[in-house]
Amino acid sequence: MEQPLYLIPLIPLIGFLVNGLLLGRLGNKLVSFIACASVGISFILGVKFFFDLLALPESARVIENVFFTWIPAGQFHVNVSFLLDPLSAVMVLVVSGVGFLIHVYSIGYMHDDPGYGRYFTYLNLFIFSMLTLVLADNYLLMFVGWEGVGLCSYLLIGFWFEKKSAADAGKKAFIVNRIGDFGFLLGMFIIFWQTGSLDFKTVLDPATAHSMFAVGGGMVTAATLLMFLGATGKSAQIPLYVWLPDAMEGPTPVSALIHAATMVTAGVYMIARSNVLYMMAPATMAVVAIIGVATAMFAGTIALAQNDIKRVLAYSTVSQLGYMFTACGVAAFSAGIFHLMTHAFFKALLFLGAGSVIHSMAGQQDMRYMGGLKKRMPVTFWTFLIATLAITGIPGFSGFFSKDEILWKSFSTDYGSIWIWLIALVTAGMTAFYMFRLVFLTFFGEERMDAHTKEHLHESPKSMTGPLSMLALLSIIGGWVGIPHILGGDNRFEKFLEPVMKGLDHTEEGAHALASAAHDGTTELILMVGSVALVGLFIYLAYHFYLKNIAIAGKVRNSLSGVHKILYGKYFVDEFYHAVIVNPLVIGSKFLWKIFDVLIIDGFINGMAVLIGDISTSLRPSQSGILRTYTTIFLIGVIVILGIVLIFG
C-alpha cells in the first residue's frame, strides 16, 4: 500500500530550505523552532508508520513508497522510493528521536553563537540526508544520503571555520570519507554489472542473489569488500578512522549527533541491510570481523592515554563501532543493530554531558583541569554516570545486553572464534577503565580548575538538561527489548529484525549461525558472569588510580613512559599517513603545478603569443608605404612566375 513515507525525509528538507533561504530575516527563536519542529514531526511520523508496520503480519512487514521515477535509462532504472521494514524503522526512530533531543539541546548550547541559524540549517540538512540513507530502497539513493551526510559532516565539523584546526578537520573528514566512497561506488558498480539492478528488492532477494553470484565467488567478495571499504570510511574503522578524533573540533552537539549516534552508524546499517550478500562471501565476513575487533582494541588503547574529554569519547566511539562491525562479521547482524541503538542512546548522552561540562567550564576540555564537578552539576553528573554504566556493560543497563550479545555470538557461532571473543573481552575491560577514569577525573576528587572558572561553574539550562534526562532514561530501558532467553527475556529485538536478515534463513551458513545460537544456556551464563567480573575489576583499578591516590597514575605513567608516549601519540598513525600518502601527493601536485602547468603549458601558450608578436614585428616593415618598394616586389613576383613557367613549363 502506498503510504507517504517520503514525508519523513522531506519535512527536514523543507526545514533546511526555509532556514537556509530566510536565515537573515528570521530571529533565533523562530529558526530553532522550525528546525526542532521539523525533526519532531519526522519522529512522530516515524512512530506512526512504525505502528502501521507492527499491525502487519510478521512475514510481510514492508511498507513501500515510490516518490518519483528518477533515472529511467533503459535497463538502468532507479526511482526515488522508500522502504520501511523493521530494520529501517529502527533506524528512523533512532535518527529522528535522538536527533530531536539533540536539536533541543543545541538551543541552549549554541545560544550565543553568531552562526546560530547556519547551525540549525546544517543540522536539518543532515537529518534529511540520514533519513534518506536509511529509508532508501536502492543503493543509489542510499549513496545520495551517504554523500549528503558526508557533506554535512564537513560543514558541521568546520562550523567554526575561522579556526584553522577546525577547517582542516572538516577537510580531513571529507577527504578520508571520499576514499571510502570510492570503494562504495566500485562495489555498487559490480553489483549493477552482475545483476543489472540496484534495488534492494532485486539484489537482496536470496533466490536472485544466489542465481547472480556464486557463493564465495570473486564477484560477490569483491563487491562486499569494496562496500566495506566505504563503511570503514564512514564509520571510522581501520584504516580510515583518522578523521573522527579530529572531528571533535566541531560543536559538541554535532559530535553527539553525527559522530556518535547517526552518521557513523551508516556503515553498520549498510552491512546489515546487505546481509544476504555478505553471507555469501565468507572471506569478507572474516575481514569485517577482524578489522572490527582490531579497531575496537586499537582505539581502546589510545583512549587510555588521552587527556581531552572529547578525544576519549571519540576513540571510545571508534572502539564501540568496532564492536558493531565485529557483530556483523560473525553473522550476528541484529546484535550489531541492537548495539547501534543502545550506543546511540548512551554515547549521545556522554557527548551531551561532556558538552554540558565544557559549556559550564567556558570551553575547557582538558580533564586534568577538572574535578569535583558532581556537586556543582548534579543533573549532568547523574546522567553521565548512567551513560557510563551503560557503556561499560553493567547488568541492567542497555549496553550490557547489547554488548553481551555480541560477545556471546562471537564466541559461539561458526563465524566467530575464541580469539575474537578474547580481544573483545579485553577491550570491554579497557572501556570500563578509561570511562571510569574519565568520570573520576571530571566529577570526583579535588577541584583542579582555576579560581575564575570555578566561580562560573553552573548547571546547564533546562533545554540542555531535559534531553540529558531523556537519554538517560533510554540508556536504561533501551536494552530491555533485547533481553536474551537465558535471563528470562524474549529477545524481542532479534525476533523483530529477523525477517530482514534473510541471509540467515536460506543459506547453509545462516543455518549454522542460528543453530549454534540455540545452544544450551550455561556456557552463555558463564561467559556473561566472566565479562561482568572483568569489568568490575577494571572499574576498581580506575578507582584505585584516579580517585584513591592520584599519584599512582603519575608513577605508572612514568615507569611506562615509552608505552604512554605511543598511546598518547595515537600510534603516530596520522604522522605516518601524512608522510607516506599526503606529502608525496602534495609534492607531486606542486611539481605538476609549478613545472608542468606554469612552465610548460602556460609557457607554450604564452610563447605562441610572443612568437606571433615577433613574426608580426618582423613582417611589419614590409608595409612601408613606399611606392617603389611595392613596384620592386611586383617585378620580383613576375620574375618568379616566369621562372616557374620556364622550369616547369
Binding site: R620, Q623, S624, G625, I626, L627, R628, T631, L635
Partner: protein
C-alpha cells in the same frame, strides 16, 4: 632578312629597361614614361608576331592599345597634377601614406 627573334629580343630588352625605369626613378613623371615605354615594347612584339603570321589583327590591337595609352596618360597626368598640388612634390618616396 632580319630574323623575328631579333625583334622579340629587342622588345624584351625595351620592356626590361622600362621595368628598370619604374623601380629606379623617384620622379613620378619619369616613372610614368617608363610605363609607356613598356607598353610600346609590347606593341613591338605584337607587330612582329602579326608580321610573322601574316594577319592584320595585330595591327588593330595595337591601334586600340594606343587609344588606351592615351586615355591612361590623360588620367594619370591629372592624378599627378592633383598629387603635386597636395604634396608640393613628385618625389615618390614622399607619398607613404599607405604606411601603418
Amino acid at each position: 632578312m632580319v630574323p623575328i627573334e631579333y625583334f622579340l629580343l629587342l622588345s624584351a630588352l625595351l620592356f626590361a629597361i622600362g621595368a628598370a625605369g619604374v623601380i629606379i626613378s623617384r620622379n613620378l613623371i619619369i616613372m610614368f614614361m617608363a610605363i609607356e615605354l613598356m607598353l610600346n615594347a609590347a606593341n613591338l612584339a605584337i607587330i612582329a608576331f602579326s608580321r610573322m603570321n601574316n594577319v592584320v589583327d595585330g595591327h588593330v590591337f595595337v591601334f586600340i592599345v594606343f587609344t588606351i595609352a592615351a586615355a591612361e596618360a590623360a588620367v594619370g597626368l591629372a592624378i599627378i597634377i592633383m598629387v603635386f598640388r597636395n604634396r608640393e612634390s613628385i618625389n615618390a618616396d614622399k607619398f607613404s601614406l599607405l604606411k601603418r
